[in-house]
């Protein structure tokens, strides 16, 4: 597998995996995010929090160029991945293999559990032992014991929480370097949520995770760094734009927020 120099060279890894510089995003003519500058650390979990509509999903989708699929979406500013510019003329298909994504609503393919996991690896030309890869990925996603006897049943026959872990397994099977998660637990019950959180903690050693969440406790529990986005109050035309209010280590942000808007948000006075 061709990994970029930054991750192959042992020892002296750049501690920053993903970074944006003055990144603005428009949908059509409305500005959704203004001049975000952030650096996501390697092998850490970074949480994105903030009120609804402040552009958390939008920011997340800039990292794997998912916004390219939306007609009228446009970005300005730099996004870099392992030091390489990925906001310009690059092939998003290659990028998305290295930066996986888990969505808010579990979205397994209407195929068997086995084929759900194997699908991404197959289209990316995986040459090794597929059975082995499927088992490894399902084990990694803490789902193997529940599905090992029904690998050829449809992925849609699983419960919501199992489906979400299947989606995580499917992402892991492609062996990405970063995993983006957009509210991965919002459709899950507390027990499934706890399992996914344990899983994230376990994955942290090998992957960099960026997670969007509305659940303050979850952000505190799982993340190392937290970015709080806010809606700009100064916007004149009634449309409100997302900005980055604060980005600090999670302990610090929750115990001693520097920005008054962050404080208001985490104590439940906005949002």
């Amino acid at each position: 597998m061709d990994r970029p120099a930054a991750t192959v060279a042992s020892g002296r890894l750049d501690p920053v995996v993903l970074a944006t510089k003055a990144l603005s995003v428009w949908y059509g003519s409305t500005l959704a995010l203004r001049e975000i500058t952030i650096a996501i650390p390697r092998n850490k979990i970074t949480a994105l929090i903030g009120p609804s509509g402040c552009g958390k999903s939008t920011l997340l989708r800039c990292f794997n160029r998912m916004n390219d699929l939306i007609q009228g979406a446009r970005m300005k500013g730099d996004v870099t991945f392992d030091g390489e510019l990925i906001s310009g003329e690059i092939d998003p298909v290659v990028l998305r293999r290295r930066i996986g994504m888990v969505f808010q609503k579990p979205n397994p393919f209407p195929k068997s559990i086995y084929n759900n996991v194997a699908w991404g690896a197959r289209i990316n030309g995986y040459r090794g032992d597929m059975d082995d890869l499927v088992e490894r990925s399902l084990r990694r996603a803490a789902l193997w014991d529940e599905v090992k006897n029904k690998l050829h049943h449809s992925g849609l026959d699983l419960s919501g929480g199992q489906q979400q872990r299947l989606c995580i397994a499917r992402t892991l099977a492609v062996e990405p370097e970063v995993i983006l998660m957009d509210e991965p637990c919002s459709a899950l019950d507390p027990i499934s949520t706890a399992r996914v959180e344990d899983l994230m903690d376990d994955l942290k050693n090998d992957y960099t995770i960026v997670i969007v969440t509305h659940n303050m406790q979850q952000a505190r529990r799982v993340s190392d760094m937290t970015a709080c986005l806010m809606l700009d109050e100064a916007a004149s035309d009634g449309h409100r734009t997302g900005i980055l209010a604060e980005f600090s280590p999670t302990d610090l942000l929750f115990t001693n927020p520097k920005d008054p808007r962050t404080e208001a948000y985490i104590t439940g006075r906005i949002g």
């Binding site: 998912m66 990028l95 996986g100 994504m101 979205n107 209407p110 289209i123 849609l156």
Partner: protein, 306 residues
């Protein structure tokens, strides 16, 4: 707290509405039963008067209702029907499916806004216009292309019928398939793109399998339409019942045979007149078989998303 009493007449109205709805649904069942009954009775009459056996009819390879004694083999016109159905499907299914994929996955919003209604407009053209189109345009073009190669193209020929019927049923395939493909949930596409799939992989390996049952249903509908098509085939392929593999000569299909009998001077009650019911019943059987096949296919290929 007191609630107003529900007036009696509302309950009556409710049951009246449900009876009406039942009647409407029942009309279609009655129609089908009626058609089969009429065709069946007349077909029995045909076999009695023509004094031929069912095997002579089903497996007879000569159809000469005016010969002495008349020959009523259905194979030549069944053959003609199959030629038109298969030939036009070979044109319509790939083109229709590819345009559906293009419209739902590739086309920019503007192109789609123009192309889709245009394709649907094709479906609204009266079929006899397609017949003229075959006679005035397709056949001359075929002649210009093939005669220099030493092939003789008859004025009425099967190939030209296949071309126009094919064009005629493209919108059925493309429009229905496009509806099915574009209703595949967005989340499935995003999941596939998120794993590093190209647009082509997303279209052919996620969207198409997820919509396959609907696509196959549109295929069957288009084939049934080709089997039942009449006027365009009369004008394009003529009316010569023969079993041939040469698509450049005239053929006759089951529907055009019926037109021929009705348009001719066969008098009421004669074997020739009654034969149209026997052919009609056979046509009905062919469509029924197609429907059953489609049901089986759907059950087998179902890859349902919630």
């Amino acid at each position: 707290m007191r609630w107003p009493r529900r007036p009696r007449y509302l309950a009556w109205l409710e049951s009246g509405v449900s009876a009406l709805l039942f009647l409407c649904a029942f009309v279609t069942v009655l129609t089908t039963i009626g058609i089969v009954a009429v065709l069946g009775v007349q077909t029995v009459g045909f076999f009695r008067i023509a004094r031929i056996g069912i095997t002579d009819f089903l497996f007879g390879v000569v159809l000469k209702p005016d010969a002495r004694p008349p020959l009523f083999g259905v194979v030549p016109i069944f053959w003609g029907t199959m030629i038109v159905a298969i030939g036009s499907s070979m044109i319509a299914l790939p083109i229709g499916l590819l345009s559906a994929i293009y419209l739902s996955e590739y086309a920019p919003r503007k192109a789609r806004a123009i192309l889709k209604p245009t394709l649907e407009l094709l479906a609204g053209v009266p079929t006899i216009v397609y017949g003229y189109f075959a006679l005035m345009l397709v056949t001359p073009v075929l002649r210009a292309l093939l005669e220099p190669l030493g092939l003789r193209v008859e004025t009425f020929n099967a190939l030209s019928a296949c071309v126009v019927v094919g064009v005629m049923i493209i919108p059925l395939v493309s429009s229905l398939s496009e509806d099915v493909l574009s209703s595949v949930p967005r989340g499935l596409r995003e999941a596939a793109y998120g794993l590093g799939a190209t647009k082509f992989e997303v279209s052919t390996r996620v969207v198409l399998p997820a919509g396959l049952s609907g696509v196959l249903a549109s295929f069957i509908l288009a084939i049934s339409r080709a089997v039942g098509e009449t006027m365009a085939v009369v004008l394009a392929a003529g009316m010569r019942p023969q079993i041939t593999l040469n698509p450049l000569t005239s053929i006759e299909t089951m529907t055009t045979y019926i037109v021929q009998v009705i348009g001719g001077e066969a008098s009421y009650g004669t074997a020739k007149y009654l034969s149209l019911f026997a052919v009609g019943l056979s046509l009905f059987a062919v469509t029924l078989v197609l429907n059953i096949i489609s049901g089986l296919i759907l059950r087998h290929f179902r890859e349902a998303y919630q």
